[in-house]
């Protein structure tokens, strides 16, 4: 059974989406399915029929450009393994809540692990 993550990375060459753990723990593989942040390592491809999948490449080329620049300028990225997942999750949060509180931001990002940096300061940015 093919996972959405494999189809994105290997089938379509969209390597922006990362595989961290492959078992739903780290959030690195997060993509938007019909606008909802979803772990693509846990999604079998057949569940995606007729649904809209957005990856970090998609939002980076579109409306999230400025958001990404700010993300980089404030040091929200170090090794980058977690970054696509964090970007997708944070972007989805901002779509449904343009001015989240610190607590709301922490809650939204609680499923995205980061081993390097950024994660401490993220809600400030």
């Amino acid at each position: 059974m093919e996972r959405l993550l494999d189809v994105l990375r290997e089938g379509l060459g969209l390597t922006g989406t990362k595989e961290g753990c492959g078992e739903g723990e780290c959030g690195a593989c997060t993509v938007l399915i019909d606008g909802e942040p979803t772990l693509s390592c846990l999604v079998p491809l057949f569940q995606c029929e007729g649904r809209r999948i957005e990856t970090v490449e998609g939002i980076a080329a579109g409306p999230a450009r400025d958001f990404l620049e700010r993300f980089v300028a404030t040091g929200g990225v170090q090794c980058g393994a977690c970054t696509p997942g964090i970007v997708i999750t944070a972007w989805a949060l901002l779509q449904r809540n343009p001015a989240p509180s610190r607590e709301e931001a922490r809650e939204a990002l609680a499923g995205n692990l980061c081993r390097c940096t950024g994660i401490c300061g993220e809600p400030d940015r």
Binding site: G20, Q78, G80, A110, N112, C116, G118, I119, C120
Partner: protein
Amino acid sequence: MKSPVTARLRADGRIEVLTAMTDMGQGCAAVFPQIARAAGGLGEDDVVFAEPDTGDVPDSGPTVASRTTMIVGNLIARTVAELRDSILDPIVGEGLSVSDGWIVGPAGPVEPFRDAARRHFETAGPLEITHRHEPPEWQTFDESTYQGAAYPTYAWGADVVEVEVDPDTLAARPVAATAVCEVGRAIHPTLCKGQIEGGTLQALGWALLEEVKLQDGRYLNDRLATYIIPTIKDSPRIDVHLLERAWKGGPFGAKGVGELPMDGGAPATAQAVENATGIPVEEIPATPEKLLLASSSPVGAALCGRAGWGGGANGKNAASEKTGRPHRAAPTENEVLP
């Protein structure tokens, strides 16, 4: 480690720098170009970095011991500056220098450096300079006894950690952390602070959560579902203060910083837990189970089915040197509560 770095002149007048460093979080993709441009007086677009493909680049050493910026960065500065001088030397003129990508004389800007570099390539052909790391003479290290000075300098840090401990469960939570680091010079302050923030969070995880469990030589918790690291919700406010005292052996005064924040955070957390609970913390992570075992609580003894801290079968029941409180020896794997 006599690791080399190479700079070569390209036909288009750009300087290409070759190192083996792959950026996996050291920040070298940002910091190296900064160093190369500043050392050469070059413009934004005058320097390119080769992909660190081992078939093309020299072996400029591994990413270890926080050496990337300090050692390799320093070699880049030297190599690029020397390559620039070799290009500048044949140009006739008094007191020429290079600044922001322009050759500048006493009367002001003369021409873009890249134009002169391109001409140099056309007339004199390819040009390449390699430098190797040479430890200063006074720095000697004996590889057989592992004695001596492994490094010419160190960065320094101090950490303050504040914790809250639930008196019922003994679960400790970091509330705030402050890291003060003397880094020589921060080449990229945002990345430098980010490394210290992230390293401090990792140190807090080490102090309170992260425990590598082994049984018969195998990991019991070899995945993120069982090896628990801090999430954003476990992360307290972390204040980072950089102290900059340029060190003359590093590029523009920089020292290595990557590992520094792992040194002080966990001991500071252990002290804070000890201070809050009165329970001696002599092993990390200071999980509730370990704290309960190390405490004088009869509950700990009962829960663990042991005779309590005073009656340990192995006789390791001496008082803690530091606190004067009697305590059990640190529990072994099997003694930890499920």
